[in-house]
């Protein structure tokens, strides 16, 4: 074959590769576009997964309400499970969901933004997500609302080692802090800096992945990292292994308080299945009350789902989640309820510190209609 023919063939092949790549990107987009429509509607009874028994047969017969088939629903945890998630396993394992005719299946997202996106796409029925992430998602068109609060105080924090001398916010000037992209505490840094009167521009923030933050601090690549305060037990143990002492600046203790995580639900589900959502949240509230009164037992439920977790660390993480749940507001109104004022404060903080696509109204991001009332754990 003549040389020029070969060259033409190669050029043609390259062209095919180029067109193929274009088609690939487009096809993937179209498939994704069709996904929400194709996803099983939460309103329809879920089919059992292949190879698994139907949900009804897995529940103890004497506890199943009149042999009624349990309805399978999906609950999306915000991140890979750890101690704090006992609050959500408890109603499933202790039986509150079952009494409500529900068999809850758990899965994990990759952070609150991912949860918000997936609930917005109706890929799961209930999701645990940060209110800030919900507001951002709402501005981008995800029709989701906060229905039940669990992290009442702001868990955002900057953790460090004692040797780096970060004892107050002003000490952050000149320091390098590791953070994951889109970290809520990082995004609210302007507000935190303003409240505590320090220059955030004098900080250097490096983006890293979640598991690398503490190693980066221990290796001296950063002098601190953004963490949710529920990670504190793990952080303390990690530092101790290197003979270091961990320190923490908790946003809530330094003037920046807001609502964090709660249960987000798609508006379609709130509208079309009002009673189901209410029943699930009632069961969730009862389960959380039980977990608050029986934290050791609740912790074993987390370990049942996640055997690789350390029992003591997990228990301490649950305690922090309980401390941030059992606030005065909850002691007065019950688990899950929210106040309009604090939700407004949360919305203002997010809107003032993010370039949202559009202004989001307060009633778009939450509803007080669904959370149970008066479920107060015994002291």
């Amino acid at each position: 074959m003549a040389d020029h023919d070969l060259r033409r063939l190669n050029r043609r092949t390259f062209l095919r590769v180029a067109v193929g790549a274009g088609l690939g990107v487009t096809s993937a987009s179209l498939l994704a576009a069709c996904a929400p429509a194709a996803a099983p509607s939460p309103a329809a009874p879920a089919k059992p997964e292949p190879g698994t028994k139907p949900a009804a047969t897995t529940a103890p017969a004497q506890q199943a309400p009149a042999q009624k088939q349990l309805r399978e629903l999906q609950f999306l945890l915000d991140v890979t499970p750890y101690g704090k998630h006992a609050l959500y396993y408890a109603p499933q394992e202790h039986g509150e969901f079952r009494k409500a005719g529900i068999n809850m299946k758990f899965a994990s997202a990759q952070g609150s933004a991912d949860t918000a996106r997936k609930i917005g796409a109706r890929a799961a029925d209930f999701g645990l997500a940060d209110t800030g992430a919900l507001i951002i998602a709402r501005a981008e068109g995800a029709m989701i609302k906060q229905t039940f609060m669990t992290h009442y105080r702001n868990l955002m924090s900057i953790m460090s080692l004692k040797k780096y001398g970060i004892a107050k916010p002003k000490d952050l000037e000149g320091k390098t802090i590791a953070a994951v992209a889109g970290d809520a505490g990082r995004n609210l840094l302007p507000a935190f800096a303003k409240i505590n009167n320090f220059d955030q521009n004098k900080m250097n923030i490096i983006t890293t992945d979640f598991p690398s933050k503490l190693p980066a601090v221990l290796a001296g690549r950063a002098q601190g990292s953004y963490e949710f305060y529920t990670s504190w037990p793990t952080y303390v143990r990690g530092a101790r292994k290197q003979n270091e002492e961990a320190t923490v600046l908790l946003y809530a203790e330094w003037g920046l308080d807001m609502y964090n995580n709660g249960i987000v639900v798609h508006e379609d589900l709130l509208k079309n299945e009002t009673s189901m959502v209410k029943e699930v949240l009632q069961a969730l509230g009862e389960g959380i009350v039980w977990a608050a009164q029986n934290p050791d037992e609740a912790n074993t439920m987390t370990l049942k789902y996640n055997p690789a977790l350390d029992k003591e660390t997990s228990r301490e993480e649950l305690q922090i989640a309980l401390d941030f749940l059992l606030v005065d507001e909850v002691k007065k109104n019950g688990v899950g309820t929210m106040s309009k004022d604090k939700m407004q404060q949360t919305l203002d903080l997010v809107q003032d510190n993010f370039e949202l696509k559009r202004k989001v109204a307060l009633d778009e991001i939450w509803t007080a209609e669904f959370a149970p009332k008066g479920l107060v754990p015994r002291a």
């Binding site: 092949t13 987009s29 996106r117 981008e140 490096i206 890293t208």
Partner: protein
């Protein structure tokens, strides 16, 4: 050199236009929210609105990719020469190279970033590690593919090993080297992106991660499209250099590079 046939070009352009049109229509018809899949027009608007930002991050990724690829090329060819010419080096080097290839780079990337820092070195090292293997394997295969009669001729004529390398083995291996380079360049792009995903504040990989966390899907798509174009452009560049340097070795079907 012959030009691309107008008909081929027309078909390619039409295919792209139709698929983009279809994408736009589906998004519009099904009212797909932008946080799930943005319309091509939204991606275009996003790109135009922040062209400087995209240019800056594309340049960073391109730079990391190029450095990692060039290092992989030099070290890969040298390693292949060592393997072909020394049995001792082959038994020493080859298992190490094989282990390096088998280890999933995504798993060691966080450690590499902690060891080497969050700047350029870690990204180029990951690109180098990912791109290295196909160059070594293809170059070594090419050098061994030299015709035995020609190698015998060099011996008969009392040619040196250097002459054998320069006049026989290296020219014979060039088509194989380019075959490895074409696979390696696309892998180098992926390597740089792995590094940017794990840590750092720059590059298209960082932009995709940051966009995902803020549900800025149009930004994510714009960065992905730029990344694809960059990979295609670099692949095309290698094909072009191959045609200029090794016109006799260009094969009919280009291999489609495998990804990680």
């Amino acid at each position: 050199m012959s030009a691309i046939r107008p008909r081929e070009l027309l078909i390619a352009m039409l295919t792209l236009v139709v698929t983009i049109g279809l994408w736009e229509a589906v998004v519009w018809a099904f009212k797909v929210p932008s946080f799930l899949v943005p319309a091509p027009s939204a991606v275009w608007v996003e790109f135009l609105g922040k062209a400087d930002l995209y240019a800056q991050h594309t340049w960073i990724t391109l730079y990391e990719t190029a450095i990692g690829f060039l290092l992989a090329m030099v070290l890969g060819i040298l390693a292949a020469i060592a393997i072909v010419y020394s049995r001792l080096l082959q038994s020493l080097v080859y298992p190490v190279i094989l282990v390096l290839q088998i280890v999933p780079k995504i798993a060691i990337a966080p450690l590499l970033l902690i060891w080497l820092g969050y700047g350029l070195q870690s990204k180029t090292t990951i690109a180098l590690l990912v791109a290295f293997f196909p160059i070594v394997v293809d170059t070594a295969t090419g050098m061994r593919a030299a015709e035995p009669e020609l190698l015998e001729l060099v011996k008969v004529l009392k040619g040196s090993r250097w002459q054998e390398f320069v006049k026989i083995r290296f020219p014979y291996s060039l088509p194989f080297i380019f075959s490895g380079l074409k696979v390696a360049i696309t892998l180098a792009v992926i390597g740089a992106i792995i590094g940017e995903f794990v840590g750092g504040n720059q590059g298209l990989g960082y932009l995709i991660v940051a966009a995902n966390y803020q549900l800025l899907t149009a930004m994510s798509f714009a960065a992905l499209i730029l990344l694809s174009l960059m990979g295609l452009g670099l692949f095309g560049l290698i094909v072009l250099v191959e045609r200029l340097l090794v016109p006799w070795g260009v094969t009919e079907g280009e291999e489609i590079p495998v990804t990680l």
